[in-house]
């Protein structure tokens, strides 16, 4: 907590908020300035239970945190299912610091790798590009593509070597805008930055870049690894994105993963289109291996583009020859859960119905006392079945299906 950390998701009482630009300006809860309030100690929240143990309380708090983390907005709003995201990774000298273990760049690379996997799992018909910035320059590691392997490979190859100089946010954003310029109008255009440096070394006026970003409807979000920087925050805020500062490795993962579900469409200019898509047939009956157009490697199996009859090795992707987006029907079905999200479960207090968790069948332990954090149960508002916390998180993050409602 030594750093000026801020996480808008945590505005409750037991959180020590030492940030001075919180939602309520500089005023605290009781009308005074935040620094006039009594200092809150994080360890005061923890009280011993009857047997003198603090284990149950700590478990209860961590359960609450986990539950809070996954409460999502479930309103049926229009979301940009077809996304174009440019990931900007800071490769400046400041990423060598060891405040995140083992170093900032290593921690960031692990998280970015996980993010890319999750992003393509949840958004199978979306695209991603990766840009790295160091020495006042921006370099495109990968172009917009729908294949996670390309990005992971490029990151593994280039990203953690030669950290040097200062980053240039302006150059990186200009390059990102250039990359996103040819993205079709029906898709969203987003930039996600992972920055460690407190400075940016720019060739021109970054305010003009900000105006250009707004004009091009690019949404910029950032996870900073050190502290809040005015210009970074301003860019995020004015383009409709979010700015976060990561407190630790776990927190960084949560903040980065907030960019995984597609953001709602707020802009009136967003257009809807009919997109031409190809549904290729899997070909595995050939006697002789043939090269694929995406990696030029020999293989027996592949998918044949229905328009130009070239062979690609995995779906979903864009045909490298004719540019037709190639998907399979299950991938479209995979995106439906963003349109019809599962409802958030509510914690049950008293009046229990089921004798065990409806998901994993774990029988509830002794009847939980309302005053203690024994077993938390969560109930689906639609099917009225009860679930344990594990299943609750699993259902909403991985399965996207309520076992009781289907």
């Amino acid at each position: 907590m030594a750093k000026g950390v801020k996480d808008p998701a945590d505005d409750d009482d037991d959180y020590i908020d030492i940030d001075d630009t919180g939602p309520g300006d500089l005023k605290g809860a009781d009308g005074g300035y935040a620094w006039e309030e009594e200092y809150k100690r994080s360890w005061d929240v923890i009280q011993e239970d009857a047997s003198g143990s603090i284990q149950s309380v700590v478990l209860g708090i961590s359960d609450q945190l986990r539950h809070k983390r996954r409460v999502r907005d479930t309103e049926a709003i229009q979301r940009g299912i077809i996304r174009h995201v440019v990931l900007i990774l800071d490769q400046s000298e400041s990423m060598n610091l060891r405040d995140l273990m083992p170093t900032r760049i290593q921690a960031a690379l692990t998280m970015v790798g996980a993010f890319i996997g999750e992003y393509f799992d949840q958004n199978p018909i979306s695209q991603l590009a990766v840009i790295a910035t160091k020495d006042g320059l921006a370099e495109k590691l990968t172009d917009l593509s729908g294949n996670p392997m390309d990005h992971l490979g490029a990151l593994k190859e280039k990203a953690n070597k030669d950290l040097a100089g200062e980053p240039s946010l302006q150059n990186a954003l200009e390059l990102a805008m250039h990359t996103l310029k040819r993205a079709p109008t029906h898709g969203s255009r987003e930039v996600v930055c992972v920055m460690g440096s407190l400075t940016t070394c720019d060739p021109g006026d970054i305010a003009q870049t900000l105006e250009a970003l707004k004009l091009a409807q690019v949404r910029v979000s950032m996870v900073h690894l050190a502290a809040e920087v005015h210009v970074f925050k301003k860019i995020c805020k004015e383009t409709g994105g979010v700015f976060y500062v990561a407190q630790n490795e776990d927190n960084m993962k949560d903040l980065l993963f907030e960019n995984v579900p597609p953001p709602p469409i707020v802009s009136a200019k967003a257009t809807s289109d009919m997109i031409q898509m190809g549904f290729p047939i899997k070909a595995n009956n050939s006697e002789v291996p043939t090269p694929c157009v995406c990696h030029h490697e020999l293989s027996f199996v592949g998918y044949i583009c229905p328009r130009c009859k070239s062979k690609v090795c995995s779906l979903p992707t864009d045909c490298d020859v004719c540019g037709l987006p190639l998907v399979s029907a299950p991938h479209l079905a995979r995106s439906y859960h963003h349109l019809f999200p599962e409802e958030n479960y509510k914690e049950v207090v008293g009046d229990f119905v089921d004798s065990s968790c409806f998901g994993c069948g774990t029988v509830w332990a002794e009847p939980p006392d309302a005053s203690e954090h024994g077993v938390s149960r969560y109930r689906c508002p639609r099917c009225k079945h009860e679930y344990c916390l594990e299943c609750d998180i699993f259902i909403h993050e991985t399965l996207h299906n309520c076992p009781g409602c289907v």
Binding site: G187, F279, D320, V406
Partner: protein, 314 residues
Amino acid sequence: MSEPLESDPSLLVVVLDVNASAWSKSPLTVGNALQQMVIFINAYLALKPENKLVVLASNKRECKCLYPVDRANATIERDIRVYEQFRVVDATVLSGVQAMLSGAEETVGDPNRGIEEGQTLMSRALSKALCHIHRVVDSTTSKVWSRILVLSAADDSPREYISLMNTIFAAQRMSVLIDICKVFGGDSVFLQQAAEITGGNYLKVDTAGGESMLQTLMFTCLADHYTREVLVAPTNETIDFRATCFCHKRVVDIGYVCSVCLSIFCEMAPVCSTCQTKFSFRIARAESAQSNGTLKQSPKPAAATAAMSTLTLS
């Protein structure tokens, strides 16, 4: 994701379809199929002492966990001649299925929400199976490789399509294999896709023609993740992942997809018939811009393929 080791234990979730009306059409009786399944389960448990088992049964109304059950209300007499674990599993599974089969007839006509006679709550069963797997994998420190075996009897119900796809992709992400054993009736298109996407086997056993279900199970589904890497699985004919359009139910190669609701159409229309969105007809421009970009900027296509694509486009 690490590679499976020979010593890693497995978790098998058996999903039994106990839809009485579907089984009535089967050449193989429920009892017979269950006997063979129980032998298979015993063989699985005998392979490795650490192997874990969950048995779920599902019909058109409910989905129950048959094993493991709460030990308190399970009263099974001991038999000194039989290995204790086999006996417990056999007795609980058989009595559980019996209870579900006899209970199903009494409550015909209750609100089963559009599920027709002869269809089963398969997506609920698979969702619960994944919850069980998640719980077991989460609570054990060592690596456990999980798979699901479905003994399927009933037909697909179209309203389950999206929820089944969700479970299939969740399984794929957790590296859970889904094996399907279909004993009679037509092919289940949804379950075929489940096996194909997760890397499991889709087995169609011709019991009327004299094939033994037990033999097929033993030879293909008993192998764990480690062993499957060196075995040659029975091949399936190519599975068609092409989509059918919403307007004419035609199978399409190249379709048009609404960017808002992802409905598939076989021809251009000014308004999406599903979500009533009006389209802005920029399709030609957007697409040519995109493919031009691919030509200019993507470093990958070699000169030859670039020349080819200009040919196709112009």
